[in-house]
């Protein structure tokens, strides 16, 4: 479904990805793990075609979605035409909008927007995250960290995405909330959502994922089924705390 070949990306003159290759198939959960600054977030932002300076410029290689390169596309077209979106690091919800408005806004490019698709999708998201329903009329910057992450994921789902990229979804969450969310992600995946998740919490990510890639300073240094990576001694030592 998604095939990245020899991708190079840079912020200004500084190259952050030195030619990475990986692929994601429909219905999979794939994780990218690695230390701080390994290029995980950079990879997701490059996939989304977000504009610089906050996101990198692709300087080489290709990203193909269903066999077609998406490099010529602006970010909003990746969302509206390819139905792939990102729940970014730090959540980046619109704090001056209410929970409901955040969800409504994200339905901008839905194809079923005219025939009640938005209302149906909001009901589904409130079903997944009942806490959001309770807070629907509240300004979203008053939500707790866990609730904000739910909103970030809910908002991404409102775009009717088939591929969801998640950047550090567990960041700053209490363990209980975190496990809850990963269960929800598993459920969404079972319903057909393809997920690419970037995590510092490598053990958690590998437990959730089907396959994983290990990034180190802009290069992929290991890959394989998640279970196998969990049991590789070097990876255990370097990323899973021994």
């Amino acid at each position: 479904m998604l095939r990245v070949t020899n991708l190079k990306a840079a912020y200004g003159k500084i190259e952050a990805l030195h030619g990475i290759s990986f692929h994601v198939e429909k219905g999979e959960i794939v994780t990218l793990i690695g230390a701080n600054g390994a290029g995980k977030s950079t990879t997701l932002k490059a996939l989304m075609r977000l504009p610089p300076p906050e996101s990198p410029v692709v300087t080489g290689g290709d990203i193909a979605f269903d066999g077609v390169s998406l490099l010529g596309m602006p970010a909003h077209c990746v969302v509206s035409d390819l139905r792939m979106t990102l729940a970014p690091e730090g959540r980046r919800i619109f704090g001056n909008l209410t929970v409901m408005e955040n969800l409504q806004l994200a339905s901008w490019s839905r194809q079923d927007g005219q025939d009640g698709g938005m209302e149906e999708a909001i009901r589904r998201i409130f079903d997944l995250f009942p806490r959001l329903a309770e807070r629907a009329r509240q300004r979203s910057d008053t939500l707790s960290g866990g609730e904000q992450q739910m909103l970030a994921i809910g908002r991404a789902l409102m775009t009717q995405c088939a591929v969801l990229l998640l950047d550090e979804p567990s960041m700053g969450l209490a363990p209980v909330v975190m496990y809850d969310m990963f269960r929800t992600l598993k459920r969404l995946n079972a319903e057909g959502l393809t997920i690419i998740v970037v995590e510092q919490n490598a053990r958690l990510a590998l437990t959730l994922a089907d396959r994983g890639y290990v990034l180190d300073t802009g290069e992929i240094v290991a890959e394989g089924p998640a279970q196998a990576l969990l049991n590789t001694p070097q990876i255990k030592a370097a990323y899973l705390g021994g």
């Binding site: 602006p74 619109f94 909008l97 806004l105 490019s109």
Partner: protein, 305 residues
């Protein structure tokens, strides 16, 4: 007492002009955190467009020879459309390329100042220094309300400003595009991730602000029918200050700030020598800002990055 009330009527009219211009400043600032210093000159261009459109349409000299009523009915939307095109062109040609390259906001603001000068002097070069006079499009009916003279035009000006304010408030709080504008003002980064083209939201913001300035230009030219290329400079500056005093980025602020400035100005002139006007007006505004640096309705902004 009559004198005071008469001055109040004048202040309401001037406040309407300031408010109509201030709303454009505050819209663009609210969404992009950019002070569009060319905005006062967009107002001037609006007045000139109103002049060319109305003289072009009106009988007997105009090409079309329309009646005054029909001319006014057509001049309003046409002025707003063409003025919004001017604002959108500025964004497209001057600001967007800079912001794309990640230029610091300061350079965009300086560019805006230069764009304003280009509009003023372009107008001067193109049309010469001779002043233009807008044809009279409405009869000046004078109503006498309890001893106070109010022209119908003044009523229309004030009513228009109020309607524009209500419409703008509705757009920003109730429509999907308004929601997107508020979202951009919070965080531009995440907007494309919702499948929304950021550029379209920005263009809409400039178009809206400029259309309102165009409408202000038309009403101003109808009230004070002598047009000259620098008419937007001082009025634009004052409207900008009104927007800041009201709390820039806040629609209510621009509206209230505009009327506040006009009241101060008119009252100073009413009771003191007219040369004191700007000195007093701006000293009072300075005092308000000193007490409330974020303006009357403004909230302190946490700067990111």
């Amino acid at each position: 007492m009559d004198f005071f009330l008469q001055q109040c009527v004048n202040a309401l009219q001037w406040g309407s002009f300031y408010a109509l211009i201030a709303l454009g400043y505050t819209l663009v600032y609210g969404v992009l955190r950019l002070i569009n210093f060319a905005h006062g000159d967009v107002f001037m261009v609006g007045a000139y467009l109103a002049f060319f459109i109305s003289t072009g349409l009106l009988a007997p000299e105009g090409l079309f020879g329309f009646s005054r009523e029909l001319t006014l009915m057509l001049t309003i939307p046409l002025t707003m459309i063409f003025t919004s095109l001017v604002g959108v062109t500025l964004e497209r040609v001057a600001y967007r390329p800079l912001m794309r390259k990640g230029a610091h906001r300061l350079y965009v603001v300086i560019t805006a100042l230069m764009c304003g000068l280009v509009l003023e002097n372009g107008n001067l070069a193109l049309l010469g220094a001779s002043r233009r006079t807008l044809p009279e499009l409405v009869d000046k009916t004078i109503y006498n309300i309890g001893g106070i003279a109010v022209t119908s035009l003044k009523l229309w000006v004030v009513l228009t400003a109020i309607l524009v304010f209500i419409a703008l408030h509705f757009i920003v709080t109730r429509t999907r595009m308004g929601m997107a504008m508020r979202a951009v003002s919070w965080d531009k980064f995440a907007l494309p991730l919702m499948g929304i083209p950021l550029d379209r939201v920005i263009v809409f913001t400039f178009a809206l602000g400029s259309a309102i300035a165009g409408l202000g230009g038309l009403l101003f030219a109808m009230s004070y029918p002598v047009l000259e290329p620098y008419m937007g400079a001082m009025t634009g500056w004052k409207a900008f200050i009104a927007a800041v005093v009201g709390g820039i980025g806040e629609i209510r602020g621009a509206f209230v700030g505009g009327f506040l400035l006009a009241f101060v100005e008119v009252m100073v002139v009413a009771f003191l020598p007219s040369t004191f006007r700007d000195l007093f007006a701006f000293s009072i505004l300075l005092f308000i800002l000193w007490q409330r640096p974020t303006g009357i309705f403004g909230k302190p902004l946490t700067t990111k990055i």
